[in-house]
Symmetry: C2
Subunit: 164 residues, 2 copies
């Protein structure tokens, strides 16, 4: 008798874990950076692919596990950090990494407050390197929220799930 | 009257937060990967500098905050993943990222058990990209533990501190 195997369950977008990031990204950039954003339609990231050049990664633990990556084109990151901090900073300036981390932290922190699940977030890790890839957690949908601004593109990649 | 400013406090290595990682890196690679390691002398990383090509980042929250990065030369990462999983995997294979994540998770998890401080660790984030930089948390010493193996070099970067 042939062993029957079930087809893999299609991954779907859990809007309760994604909508808070669309809202928080818009609010943080409007109020804290003073830059208008156009939030694009979220889509599933199916294959490992390079993100942009500068990424802030915030880890989640507790009743939500995984990570959220805010990833910028480098020219966009420099322009947004200038708008946020009032100073033009080089990519290798420690204050530049701190500013990217603060933006990622504000987006993740504001979104976390909207969850019904209790969780902790880590201080952000900042990655700088042209075309690096942040691998997604296997078995968890990675939802990409594209964001356009007058100074360039960035994305919020939501790769979290409720803990078992 | 001139304002007196204090010189910046020199950053020092807190051995209670570093020795557990030297021990856990040795043990994980000896027992789980079957590869002998030579642990080098830990040193402070003062400037942002590229780490290696493949990094697993584990975030800490609770009474210890920050992150620990296990970063490999790509050829070393491929060889160690082959020794660990029994299969040669390409850098863009999702199973490759999972294996690097599992190694980083085991090193961080075993070290965490040695701490007197209660903390949580996140699932690892995996970064793949030649010569990327993981910016360190400002105000926290980043201690680099260099590790040599017969198949190449890697480093454990410890950038954590007790929470206030």
């Amino acid at each position: 008798m042939a062993v029957e195997t079930l087809p893999p369950k299609p991954q779907t977008i859990d809007s309760t874990l994604v909508l808070p990031f669309m809202k928080s990204a818009r609010e943080v950039f409007n109020t804290m950076v003073g830059v208008a954003t156009t939030i694009g339609k979220p889509h599933l990231k199916m294959q490992p692919a390079p993100t942009y050049d500068v990424s802030g990664i915030v880890g989640f633990s507790g009743n939500v596990v995984g990570s959220v990556v805010v990833s910028f084109q480098s020219s966009c990151a420099v322009a947004l950090v200038k708008a946020f901090s009032g100073t033009e900073l080089a990519l290798n300036d420690p204050d530049f990494a701190d500013a990217i981390g603060e933006l990622a932290n504000m987006i993740a922190g504001a979104a976390k407050k909207e969850f019904d699940l209790i969780c902790n977030i880590t201080v952000p890790s900042i990655i700088i390197g042209c075309g690096h890839t942040v691998a997604r957690l296997s078995g968890v949908p990675c939802v990409v929220i594209p964001v356009s601004t007058p100074v360039g593109e960035f994305a919020v990649e939501v790769n979290i799930k409720p803990a078992k």
